[in-house]
């Protein structure tokens, strides 16, 4: 483009310079769609972790992602939350937020919360502090330095503590909690942050049957007001919560539909049952990459 064109582009009267435009913080969901993932590609040293992946999530939906190890589920979450840069493609949160040019913190501040496969809580701090830190507040440096807990915030933390069943342990160090309790605490941290979109990676790993049930209840109750994406291997659990299920295979979407549709889908059966060798190979590759 020549300098003249550049200048013309710069002085177009129908557009406002980006730095003058008001920051749009609200998520535009006019089309009932909260997440647009289009043509996503990502490769690690020749291994295609994501391969032309397309995924659309409706506002208020509860969506389950399933697939063998190495199918790209966690990688997809990494890209959405800004942990990993993709090679090509677009990811939009609502119609107006391009997630690919934002870092993790910005994405989190937009209202996307994430729970990891391995529970990561701040072990050296109390359960209460963990929740306080996750509250939806102004997270810039100075406001944080001078912030004080308001009564509303304390109430909110109490409420979350009750929901996750850790009210008794509020002043315990998070590191002293059991594995399942840490899972709950992490979910609690998500709740405290009051996000629009929750990305939840294997929430019931290490939980008892009872706890699993409670988790399922919690997640279903969250959907509607919020949007929830769950990655899970436990098919029983998926069946108990899912309305729509997306199957990923080798970095792209293999099938999408209700659980029954998926289970009768020819491609899915072929991948999971017919050619087990394929699945295993994918799994091995996935392991190599993960560690």
């Amino acid at each position: 483009m020549s300098a003249l064109d550049n200048t013309r582009e710069l002085f177009r009267r129908d557009q406002v310079w980006p730095f003058l435009a008001p920051a749009q913080s609200r998520v535009n969901v006019d089309n009932q769609m909260i997440l647009y993932v289009e043509d996503l590609n990502l490769s690690f040293d020749g291994f295609k972790a994501l391969n032309n992946l397309n995924l659309y999530i409706n506002d208020g939906e509860l969506r389950c992602l399933i697939g063998a190890n190495g199918a790209g589920k966690t990688t997809l979450m990494d890209v959405i939350t800004g942990k990993t840069q993709c090679d090509s493609g677009t990811v939009y949160f609502g119609q107006n937020h391009n997630l690919l040019n934002k870092d993790e913190a910005e994405i989190a501040q937009l209202g996307i919360g994430r729970k990891f496969q391995k529970p990561t809580v701040f072990e050296e701090q109390t359960v209460f502090d963990n929740l306080e830190l996750s509250l939806k507040t102004d997270k810039r440096v100075l406001p944080t330095l001078f912030s004080r807990l308001t009564p509303t915030q304390i109430d909110r933390i109490d409420e979350v503590l009750k929901t996750i069943g850790l009210a008794e342990h509020r002043f315990m160090l998070a590191g002293a909690l059991s594995h399942g309790q840490k899972q709950w605490l992490e979910i609690g941290m998500l709740l405290a942050a009051d996000p629009r979109l929750l990305l939840i990676d294997e929430p019931v790993a290490g939980m008892t049957a009872q706890e699993t049930e409670r988790t399922a209840e919690l997640l279903t109750s969250l959907a509607g007001e919020r949007t929830v994406i769950v990655v899970e291997h436990d098919m029983e659990f998926v069946r108990s919560i899912a309305r729509t299920v997306t199957v990923l295979h080798q970095g792209s979407v293999l099938a999408e539909g209700t659980m029954d549709q998926i289970q009768s889908n020819k491609d899915v059966i072929e991948v999971y049952l017919g050619e087990e060798a394929v699945g295993e190979k994918g799994a091995e590759q996935g392991k190599g990459e993960r560690a």
Binding site: F44, D45, F47, G288, E289, R290, A291
Partner: protein
């Protein structure tokens, strides 16, 4: 006298013809004659000597030319006078052995006049120019360049057409051209051709001669001389560039040696070993000790020192790993502090055992000297050897890592420690071996460094930060990256130095790396993929 001649035979036997018994006595007679000769007879005697002994007579002529030839009054033996720290001493003319107990009054000077001096000069030139060895002839010609006169030119002109060696002939041509160019009475065209010939040389004398010619009366000559000078300057610049490049490569090779062990320990174990510099120092001190043990075999000491240094530093490395680093696994910052403590202890240990002062390590004779490519470019041999040695060590290490089972284990552990453990790799053993290997190579680096710098307790400190920079710049866990980074930094430093000075160059390189790391935190050749995070 007989003894003296015998010694001459031994020393110059390879160069001179076997001396027949009859001739020996004749030469003896000539020497005796020389001792008391009058000035007007001397030339004749000298001519006879030259004829009889050829090249072997050179030392005598030189001493005589210098006015230092004496004879002992008692037996008319010839001796050369020399000064040793203010004392006047005398030595044999032909083999430099001291003749003891000679006082001034025991000897008498053999005097020469200007005519004889001229004769001697020419004779020396003539003898050298007809010497058997081409290299002697060549250096003789080059020596003559600065003191050409009519008579030497005559000799050169005589010899030039029959000279068999190409290089000597070239040099002679140069000398003749220099003469021709400076003769104002010669035809301009001849002189221009001569200047043309001169423009291909890099000799200092040639440049002086050309500079003189720029003051010539003839404008054509001035122009040609200026052109030639420019041409020479350009070539000299090119060679200066090569010289700088060589010094850069040399620094790079030192950096490579110093950092490659670090690249292994840091890359495989993720351990920052602050005592790495001290491993280098230990290697250097091992060289010193080896030379102390075998003072008469300095030439071979290096071959003993290399494995010895590898063992000493390597064992120290294994010891450190077993005693300290093993217990700090997964706590890189603490490892850094602990190894720093070890480095302090090792430094102080060396200070206590040896001394805080620097120790001199001697260079084997085959490593000293330099390789003179042309008058402006000569490469010092020790740097050349160390460059080759560094590359050799690098290649050996690559082979070890790629081809041996230890290498396989090491690579496995570096890529995925837990997985390797699960597969039955003894990670403890691999860690110890890796650390030993890295430290051992640091020891070898110490041997090389001892040939370039003084050996002192702070030797390692000087290299540790640079080595870290190399490893970080190249990308952790990547040997090729270390190689590229070492040479890049070495060359960059040496090319910056002339314009900025050594200290500022070092600062600039450091600042550059600090900025670079912030742009590419994983170095030049990063490991990719989720594994790298």
């Amino acid at each position: 006298m007989r003894q003296l001649i015998a010694l001459c035979c031994c020393l110059f036997g390879l160069l001179s013809f076997p001396i027949q018994a009859a001739e020996t006595s004749r030469v003896d007679a000539l020497f005796t004659e020389l001792a008391g000769a009058k000035l007007k007879h001397m030339e004749l005697i000298l001519e006879q000597l030259e004829e009889a002994k050829g090249e072997a007579i050179l030392p005598l002529f030189r001493v005589l030319l210098g006015g230092d030839l004496y004879y002992i009054k008692a037996n008319k033996n010839l001796v050369g006078k020399f000064d040793d720290q203010g004392k006047t001493l005398y030595k044999q003319v032909f083999n430099d052995t001291l003749v003891p107990n000679l006082a001034k009054r025991d000897v008498k000077k053999i005097r020469v006049n200007n005519k004889l001096r001229g004769y001697l000069r020419n004779a020396i030139a003539r003898i050298q120019l007809t010497a058997k060895s081409p290299s002697v002839r060549e250096s003789a010609v080059r020596e003559l360049l600065s003191k050409l006169d009519a008579s030497t030119v005559v000799i050169l002109e005589d010899l030039y057409p029959n000279e068999p060696n190409k290089k000597v002939k070239e040099a002679m041509g140069l000398a003749l051209a220099m003469h021709t160019a400076s003769q104002t009475e010669l035809a301009v065209s001849n002189r221009l051709v001569a200047i043309e010939t001169l423009s291909t040389s890099l000799e200092n004398d040639v440049r002086n001669a050309l500079t003189k010619l720029t003051q010539d009366d003839n404008p054509a000559i001035i122009k040609a001389a200026q052109g030639a000078l420019e041409q020479i300057a350009q070539r000299a610049k090119r060679f200066a560039f090569v010289d700088q490049l060589f010094f850069g490569l040399s620094l790079g090779s030192v950096l490579l040696l110093a950092s490659i062990g670090l690249a292994i320990t840091f890359g495989v174990m993720g351990v920052i070993n602050m005592a790495h510099g001290e491993m280098i120092m230990l290697g250097a001190y091992t060289t010193y000790v080896v030379q102390l043990i075998m003072p008469n075999y300095i030439d071979y000491s290096i071959w003993v020192a290399i494995p010895a240094a590898f063992l000493v530093s390597g064992l120290m490395g294994v010891l450190i790993e077993r005693l300290v680093i093993r217990h700090l696994h997964g706590r890189p910052l603490e490892t850094l502090l602990a190894t720093f403590g070890i480095s302090l202890i090792l430094q102080q240990l060396v200070r206590t055992i040896f001394s805080p002062l620097n120790r001199q390590v001697s260079t084997p004779s085959w490593m000293s000297g330099s390789w003179e490519i042309n008058p402006v470019l000569s490469l010092t041999l020790n740097r050349l050897y160390i460059l080759a040695f560094a590359l050799l060590v690098f290649i050996a290490l690559v082979i070890i890592l790629k081809k041996t089972s230890l290498g396989l284990n090491v690579r496995a552990v570096s890529q995925n420690r837990n997985m390797a453990k699960a597969m039955g790799v003894k990670t403890n053993w691999v860690d110890a071996m890796t650390f030993g290997l890295g430290s051992g190579i640091a020891g070898i680096a110490g041997v090389a460094l001892s040939q370039l710098t003084n050996v002192g307790p702070n030797l390692g400190q000087a290299y540790i930060i640079d080595s870290f920079m190399v490893v970080v710049f190249g990308g952790v866990g990547n040997l090729l990256g270390t190689l590229v980074a070492a040479f890049t930094l070495g060359i960059a430093t040496k090319f910056l130095e002339p314009t900025t000075g050594a200290v500022l160059a070092a600062i600039l390189v450091l600042v550059f790396i600090i900025l670079f790391i912030q742009k590419r935190p994983k170095g030049l050749f990063p490991q990719k993929g989720r594994a790298a995070e």
